[in-house]
Structure formats: C-alpha cells, structure tokens
Amino acid sequence: MIGSRTTGPRSLIVVFAAFVVCLVASPPQADQSKAAPSADRRSDGLAAWQQVYTVLTHQRCINCHTATNYPQQGDDRHRHFANVVRGPEGRGVPGLHCATCHQEANADSTGAPGSHNWHLAPLSMAWQDQHDQLLSSAEICRVLTDRSKNHDMDGPALLQHHAEDQLVGWAWEPGRGLNGLQRTLPPLSRPQFADATRRWVEAGTPCPPGKAGD
C-alpha cells in the first residue's frame, strides 16, 4: 500500500508523458487523410489507373469520346455513317438526332445499339487528338481528373460514373451489329473496371507523369 502510494504519482507522470509523445508522433486522423499518399499507395494507384486506361482506350469507348464533330463507330473507329454530326449538346441535330435511330435498348433485330441517354461525351472529355490518335495515359488521366472538364466529378463521383452509369454500362452489353455479330467487349469486366477505379480513387487519383506519346 505504501509502495503504491509513493509510485502512483510517478506512474501518472509517465503515462501523461507517453500521451504527449503519442500526440506529437501521431497527428490526428483528419490530417492523415490530407497527407500526400505514400510511395506504395501511389504506386498501387498508378497500377490501378493503368487498368482503367485499358478500358477507356478501348475502341468502343473512344467512338463516343471523340475530338471530332461526329461520332465514330466500329472496332476500326470509322466515321459514323449517314452524315451524323455532334450537334450543340452531343446529341445530334433536329431531324438527325441520336434518338433518330438509337433507342433505350439494343435492337438486335435491326442492329441498332441503344441505351438510356445515348449521346456523345463532351469535347472537353475527348480521349483522342485532332489527328485521331489516342491520348497518352498521362493525358487522359489529367483530363479525367480535371473538374473543369469532367462535369465537376470528384473521385467518388468518377467511381460512381464508372460503376453505375447506364450508358457506360452499355460497353459491356453492346448487343449485335448489323452483321449479326456480337460487338467486342472492353479488356476488363465491369466489376473489374469498377474495382480498378475504386483502387485508383482510394489512392488519390494519381496520374502518371508524361506528355503526349508517353
């Protein structure tokens, strides 16, 4: 009892000192979230981004993410037939609107692909240059994460767009073309694409360094 009475205050001092040290050594959780990602986290995020990039640069994605005044079509990304043009809102023009042919779902009996809200991506989200060449991984990453160009989408919104948007989802349910053959699919399944996007977002949407052609 005597011993405990004499060592008690010392123990309290030690505990308090340890608490102070912990406070100094470990910043609050909120500060951790603002800290720059670790090298490993960034590396994991970049690896996930490269998976995302393989889907974004699939020809069927580029067909609607053009830098041109018209959509493209087919695996060879040729100009959309019937003189279709982009129009002011990416939905064609009066008399030749996207919905002139594209309905709410694929029409396999006629070969017309369709999905809800069929339209072109805005020119600010073009993933090709003016010479029909794909943008580099670094360039598309920068475009995709630029909220002045991507409809003000942050990381979680990008993840939701990739994981849930119905028109994006058409890429994995493209139906049959006029030739009766199934249209080609992106290199990842949609769950894999969403998972890669999630890992990229959780890593802070890192972008690889580099310019065109890298």
Partner: protein
C-alpha cells in the same frame, strides 16, 4: 407474337406481330400506310423517316416493342400539322419531287428541322437533312423549299 396498342396519326391501332418487327413493316404491311418507304433497311437513307413523339425517327430501325406509348406520325398525316402543311405546300410550289421515292422521308425530316430551327442556315439544312439521301439529286430544290417554308412560317 404479341399485341400492341399503337397511336398512329392520332388514332389507336391494334397490331399483333412479332416484337422484333421494325415499325416500318408494321406501318406498311399491317396498317397499309405505304407512304413511308423502305429504302435501305439500315437507317442509311432516311426514306423510312416518321415522327415518334415529335422526333424524326428511322422506322426501319425501331422494333415495334420499343415504341411504348409514344405517338407516331407518318407522311399521311403530316399535312394536318401547321408546319407540315407549309412544308408540303413549299414542296409542291418548288416542284421538288422527281421520282419521289425518298420525298416522304425528306419532308418528315424537314418538318422537325423547321420546328426546332425556324430560320435555318445552309449548314443547319445540310446537317439536319444529311441523313436523307436522294438519288435524283433534288437537294438544291429541297434547300429552296425549306427556306421558302421557313420564310412563310415567320
């Protein structure tokens, strides 16, 4: 086979057909509305253009099962529409037609153009009518007729 209740030119029409049947063939074969023409069957020519809920639509590409309750207007009834009547009159006064096969589709597209673009430029006309092909090459008269109709409507 399935039965559909369609609204065609303001009238309710019942059709029993295969769900994958394009609207074009429902109009022509089942309802005998043969003013809408079959040209290419792949939406490349525009001869089959009708209005679905006010939008120019290639009837060869739309399975009847996808129509839902959207109303359809064909060339047979476009003269009952104020803009449609003016466009038809302009077509006559400018003697646009040669063989005539594509012209029902041309008129249907032109009506939608003028409803959304009352004073169309040459570029507006080229872009909106670019999917309607005329093998007789009546394009100059089509352009003149559209401009005349636009002027008449103002």
């Amino acid at each position: 086979m399935a039965t559909y209740q369609l609204t065609i030119n303001g009238q309710r029409r019942e059709v029993t057909t295969d769900p994958s049947t394009p609207l074009l063939w429902v109009l022509r074969e089942d309802l005998k509305l043969t003013g809408t023409k079959y040209g290419c069957g792949v939406s490349a020519c525009g001869a089959c253009t009708v209005h679905v809920a006010g939008m120019a639509t290639r009837s060869c590409m739309v399975p009847v099962s996808m129509l839902g309750d959207r109303p359809v207007v064909t060339i047979e009834a476009i003269g009952q529409d104020p803009v449609g009547k003016v466009v038809q009159d302009a077509w006559v006064s400018h003697d646009v037609v040669q063989c005539g096969y594509c012209q029902s589709g041309q008129i249907m597209s032109a009506v939608v153009l003028l409803k959304h673009t009352p004073n169309p430029t040459d570029q507006n006309i080229e872009e909106s009518m670019g999917g309607n092909i005329c093998r007789c090459g009546t394009y100059p008269r089509i352009r003149q007729a559209i401009k005349a109709a636009a002027q008449h409507l103002q």
